[in-house]
């Protein structure tokens, strides 16, 4: 990369030397902008509102991602430790709950952004900068949200897998091998599944096997709760997938984005200027300002 800024400034300064004085005072030397006559409104512009809202959603998604990271870390400990399993499970329940709430909040904000974007489309036109900015932020944030939720799904999957493996290992120690399909059935049956499961165990001794039985009971309960946890989030996943499907993925491509934008038309200002000109030029209005209709009728007669 070649930095050419210094060369540019040099050329500009050399040119400045030969420029007359009176144009210089227009420039504010310190920040290089022209002083403009501008009316400053108290309320923020629609653009500011959209950008602020987008930033908020972005922050929330980042927080969601950090919660997912926490869940993953928790899973690692769950996989490698042999004690405090139910405590770890409680932690992951709490994290999952927070993720779900945050996910629902992000979804609500996204919907609001989507509605605002549609509103802007009607008010300012689909081609206005603020509308396009809103649309782009909306679609990008939806995809980012989906990516975060997919990571969450992967974390849940992992936890479920670890739990299942644990159950199968401990069951085989207790004398019964459980296949994947059998485990599916038992989980689907919930609490009843446990009674079925425990019937088949033949504990050899008393002490250690009782521990093992307790352990496996705990894991079975956790697995059932894990499945229930995922079912709760199913609705959120479905809503998100519908959103992504509606938007399509092609708008993430920059070329498509730029090509589908039409040129900006200064419609309002031009039309008003033209109307004022026509009004001024109308001779009948100048003579008889209170009888504009006569002017139009006479004009039309003249045309014929």
């Amino acid at each position: 990369m070649r930095d050419m800024l210094v060369r540019l400034k040099t050329i500009n300064e050399e040119q400045e030397g030969s420029v007359t004085e009176h144009s210089k005072h227009e420039f504010d030397e310190h920040n290089g902008t022209l002083l403009r006559q501008a009316v400053i409104f108290e309320s923020s512009s629609p653009l500011d509102v959209i950008l602020k809202e987008a930033q908020t959603i972005r922050k929330e998604i980042a927080l969601l991602c950090s919660e997912v990271t926490r869940l993953n870390a928790n899973n690692e400990r769950y996989a490698t430790t042999v004690s405090c399993l139910s405590l770890l499970k409680k932690d992951s329940d709490a994290i999952a709950r927070r993720i779900r709430h945050r996910g629902e909040s992000v979804y609500a904000h996204l919907q609001a952004l989507g509605n605002k974007s549609k509103q802007l489309e009607e008010e300012e036109g689909a081609n206005s900068a603020v509308c396009r900015i809103a649309q782009t932020q909306y679609s990008t944030l939806t995809h980012a949200f989906q990516a975060a939720m997919n990571d969450y799904n992967k974390a849940e999957e992992k936890e479920r897998k670890i739990c299942r493996k644990r159950i199968q290992r401990q069951a085989s120690i207790l004398g019964k091998d459980i296949s994947d399909e059998q485990l599916d059935e038992l989980v689907d049956k919930g609490g009843e599944g446990w009674t079925e499961l425990s019937q088949d165990f033949h504990p050899h001794g008393i002490g250690s096997c009782r521990m093992a039985m307790c352990d496996i009971k705990g894991r079975h309960k956790e697995l059932v709760e894990l499945e229930a946890r995922l079912k709760e989030v199913h609705e959120l996943f479905l809503q998100m997938a519908t959103l992504v499907e509606e938007q399509g993925s092609v708008l993430n491509n920059i070329e498509v984005n730029v090509c589908r934008t039409a040129g900006y038309i200064e419609k309002f200002n031009d039309n008003v200027k033209r109307a004022i000109q026509y009004k001024k030029k109308n001779p009948f209005l100048q003579c008889c300002p209170c009888l504009p209709c006569w002017g139009i009728i006479i004009q039309q007669c003249n045309k014929q």
Partner: protein, 585 residues
Amino acid sequence: MAPGGLKAVVGDKILSGVIKSVKKDGEWKVLIVDHMSMRILSSCCKMSDILAEGVTIVEDINKRREPISSLEAIYLITPVEKSVRALIADFKDSTFTYKAAHIFFTDTCPDDLFAEIGKSRVAKVAKTLKEINVAFLPYESQVFSLDDPASLYSFYSSKTNEGRNKMIENLAEQIATLCDTLNEYPAVRYRKGPEENAKLADEVYQRLTAHKADNPKMGEGPDKARSQLLIVDRGFDPISPILHELTLQAMAYDLLDIKQDIYIYQTTGIGNAKEREVLLDEDDDLWVQLRHMHIADVTKKVTELLRTFCESKRMSTDNANIKDLSQMLKKMPQYQKELSMYSTHLHLAEACMKKFKTSLDNVCEVEQDLAMGANAEGEPLKDAMKSIVPVLLNNDIEAYDKIRIILLFIFHKKKGITEENLAKLIQHANIREDSKIITNMQKLGCNIIAGGCNAGKMLPDRKERTESTYQLSRWTPVIKDVMENAIEDKLDRKQWPFISDPAPINTTQTAVSSARFGHWHKNKSPTEYRSGPRLIIFVISGVSHSEMRSAYEVTRATEGKWEVLIGSSHILTPTSFLNDLNGLD
């Protein structure tokens, strides 16, 4: 998996060097591009990438734009008059279109335009001005394009003789920025014959040397002295761009209407049936896996992958097929991305096969026989005319397909055919309006009319290949032979001369040099630093999909020792190639 190779290198350069370099927390910016820079940016970055780094909208510099005076603007443009004028116009009157300007040129800005900017108000509001030296499109991880589909016309039409030298200079500069970006300083070689090959090669060498003066890192590193850049003309292998290819990417672009790499199809998802648009690029892992596969293997592979996927997620479905996917989607919406990918590729493969079965089964067999000079059993072709006549007389076959057969017939004849015979063939095929295409092939240096302007020019000999292939995919692009020879240092120096003597190749390494050892202190991203040598091939006036595939196959065969890159002014499809020939004169 993020795309690797060229796309990663350029994407990283643009994201870090341009967008991140001017990022300020809490502040959003507008990004302004012109046509070429937009294509470059689009091929290696997504909207989500740039939005994550503080850009909130992308505008076309040549369209009338709404002023957004509260935001600063990043201009990523080519240093041409049109774009520079538009830039100056943004800051002309008393109201500025944007708050400030950060300007990035794709390559060197000519002095006169630079002076114009310097004298305008832009110089006051410019906070950044850099030249990034990226003037090419990273189309795939090993394929580049210079985004000039009019290249065939520029090079071979008799009407464009004057501007040709300037065009060759521009081309050379673009190729030089490719080498600059990859930190390569390859030995330049060209195919002896057409004069434009030598001219372009010479120009490229000069530009490379100029770039190396500014960027001494070029060519640095063990083995880099073996890197080569080959310039070859399209007429060298006119068969590959017109043959019907049966690998997924080549077939899809040939038979289906895919524009701007977007495939459109009808499907049901969670909602009702509607049209879905999908971008076929390297962000789609499945596309990367399938694109070079033979179509017969594609459907099998996708179905197998889908079944494995369903089993691993414990989705109960016996026959995972296209219709079932929408059911699965409703049951497990968290796998939308994966299921959409499977759906897209099942549809794509099905669409290709449908088109193939309607008329091309016979045609492909004849084409392969002509191209190979022998039938599937290896017996040399005795009466080529007999095999092509039924195809030419068949009214169900499209004109362009007939032209492709005729051309292959002529190339099979090696010495060309008489004007009489050509007229007869055109009449049989009933393609008089498009017959120009055949004669215009002569402008590429191909032997069409026996005893005509290209008499004596022969198509290159090809290697004997013994790997088993599908019957309708026996042809291997000639460029693959060239790639393999170049890597083994067996490429004939008389037919492929060097512009300057290459550095002597060290066959015995005195010190153990490792790619990793000794370079840890240099801040290089893994994408940029590739230890082995590279073979870069530039085809003048268009590269075909089969040739692109060869680059990947040869690279794989070297087990990572070499990386082969191939590129051209644009990517051809058989239809676009024939259209270009039609418009030559």
